[in-house]
Amino acid sequence: MEASGRSTIRVELVHSPIELAQWRSWVGDPDVGAHLWFEGVTRRTTGDQKTSRLTYEAFEPMALSELQRLGDWAVERFALTRLVIVHRLGTVEIGETSVLVGCSSPHRAAVMMAMPEIMNRLKSEVPIWKRQHDQDGEVRWVHPR
């Protein structure tokens, strides 16, 4: 995985805004032909509810180890050249990014297949929770059953 001396996977939990552009060159490599980036952002409207912001918390050491485990699995499964997963904690305002996933591979099929799987697993496995703050003042944890 790291024969070149460069690591393949980076996972981070951050408490400040996520900037995709900071990661662009890290994900690059002369032997890749495809980069794919997903950003999950805070959405104002969910059904009838108007959200004003989300706040995220994590069981941080376990969230990091689960992200790393997820990353190891995805890099192996899809033969990714690079994979970065950054999740923000604390307040994430409307339009701001809560999670960034970036990956690269020689051909586009690998990144296209990897991304939905990575997000599905992240959303079911990694101990991070969001609290939804509605514009009417209601605040509730989101615990999907």
């Binding site: 999950g40 995220y56 918390e57 994590a58 069981f59 050491p61 376990m62 969230a63 180890s65 999740h87 809560s98 999670v99 997000m119 992240l122 959303k123 079911s124 496995e125 990694v126 101990p127 991070i128 929770w129 969001k130 609290r131 944890w141 989101v142 615990h143 999907p144 059953r145």
Partner: protein, 83 residues
């Protein structure tokens, strides 16, 4: 002999209890399922959420048959909602 275990709580579970851990007393070693059951007995208001939760031991998910030893770090992980 009963051993005191602090079960780490997060998100709605922590808010329901008002603290970030819950102390339970158990004969060790015990199964993870027995720990979960003891949580529900010690804090009945947690029971609905706890039954939908997973247990993590030393920062890895375990199933109900896993064996808990003294010194293990136990966390109650409610359904996650990152992303």
């Amino acid at each position: 002999m009963l051993t005191r275990i602090d079960v780490l709580l997060f998100a709605a579970a922590r808010d329901l209890i008002g603290r970030d851990s819950l102390a339970i007393d158990l004969d060790l070693p015990a199964s993870a399922g027995a720990v979960l059951q003891a949580v529900c007995v010690a804090a009945p208001q947690l029971a609905p959420l706890a039954t939908a939760s997973r247990l993590a031991v030393n920062r890895s998910y375990v199933d109900g048959s896993a064996r808990i030893e003294a010194g293990d770090e136990i966390a109650l992980i409610p359904p996650v909602s990152g992303g």
